[in-house]
């Protein structure tokens, strides 16, 4: 539901980065979204397209990689995927923080990120003193 707010931050951050390198265009943005966030990939794309329309990010590709959640147990040290509780009474598989080894409460250590991994930008080649090609 808050993808628009997140996408706004994403676009602002990318534009800021791009500006540092004098980009004339942003070609690709690689984003990793943890599966334990509340961010929908489709909604992110939708917001991204709207927000980039009048910027140098227009028509850039948003490449999203989803990342599994990882939990770590403080009691026994187990570290791994979020287990799924499959109680037939629930009709649906339910993710749980219960450690699959010792049944104690574990903590989320991965899967809550929304990280800009890389950005591909296009820029004019830097002018060399005697290049004669550029007009600077």
């Amino acid at each position: 539901m808050h993808e628009l707010a997140m996408a706004t931050q994403l676009v602002e951050n990318v534009l800021e980065e791009a500006k540092k390198y004098d980009a004339k265009k942003v070609a690709e943005v690689h984003l990793t979204i943890g599966k334990l966030t509340f961010l929908g990939v489709e909604q992110m794309r939708f917001s991204y397209d709207i927000l980039t329309k009048d910027t140098i990010m227009k028509d850039s590709k948003l490449i999203i990689t989803e990342k599994d959640g990882v939990i770590e147990c403080q009691s026994c040290g187990y570290k791994g995927k979020v287990p799924i509780e499959d109680d037939p009474a629930y009709h649906v598989p339910v993710p749980t923080l219960r450690c699959p080894k010792c049944r104690e409460a574990a903590k989320i250590v991965e899967g809550k990120e929304c990280t800009i991994m890389s950005i591909r930008i296009l820029k004019q080649q830097e002018c060399k003193d005697d290049c004669k090609r550029c007009r600077c």
Partner: protein, 225 residues
């Protein structure tokens, strides 16, 4: 920056920048700052999440009523545009700051930090924050509170917990409210409690009726207040 890869093709240069920037981390860091500031002033803080109509404000009224002799309390009330709830809580004689989010579906650590500037932390021991009525988005944004409460009411049906496992993973205490309507709604409150504990084994649960105050003691115990 040393990781940047540069590819030159004619006059055009393609550059790969690797910021490795976690957008959600910004809120987390602000939340951590809030937490430290509150701890410095020995202020306990609680974030209360739940759907619209779950009974968050009524529960806060009960909490305030039960605890105002023991603690000096302030309440932050997240709401889209109105001050209706803030007035309700204000009648109990505690400081209330309304945080109108406009169109935003959740509170974040930044708006809470702004609200903290409007109160004097020296004058309070307990800060109760009522999040925007929404069971999903607030879970993404820690505010820097010591404890998080998620409120569900039996009128929301039997699947509230199972449908929102990731929200319940972020909470320390669950309240099942409107227990007086459980029978009419054919809801087994112990089932909701079991589901929450299946998702988060260390979850504490209080079953309440926020209109009469029934179960508020259990909630206070669960919050260790």
């Amino acid at each position: 920056m040393t990781n940047n890869k540069e590819i030159v093709k004619g006059e055009e240069v393609t550059l790969e920048i690797k910021p490795g920037m976690n957008i959600l981390e910004v809120n987390k860091q602000l939340a951590q700052k809030n937490k430290e500031l509150l701890q410095e002033h020995n202020v306990k803080a609680i974030d209360i999440m739940g759907s619209i109509g779950a009974g968050k404000t009524s529960l806060i009224e009960q909490l305030v009523q039960a605890l105002k002799q023991k603690y000096r309390i302030a309440v932050f009330k997240g709401d889209l545009t109105t001050t209706i709830d803030a007035e309700r809580i204000g009648r109990h004689g505690v400081k209330v700051v309304t945080i109108n989010t406009g169109l935003e579906c959740h509170l974040d650590a930044n708006v809470v930090a702004r609200a903290v500037e409007r109160i004097s932390l020296q004058d309070i021991d307990l800060l109760i924050i009522e999040n925007v009525g929404n069971l999903i988005c607030p879970a993404e944004f820690p505010l820097g509170t010591e404890k998080r409460v998620v409120v569900v009411s039996v009128t929301e049906g039997p699947y509230m917990v199972l449908k929102h496992p990731f929200t319940f993973m972020t909470a320390d205490v669950m309240v099942v409210n409107k227990k007086d309507l459980a029978e009419i709604m054919k809801i087994d409150t112990s089932q909701l409690a079991k589901q929450a504990k299946d998702i988060k084994p260390d979850m504490k649960v209080a079953i309440t009726n926020a209109l009469t105050g029934e179960g508020i003691e259990d909630l206070i115990n669960a919050l260790e207040l």
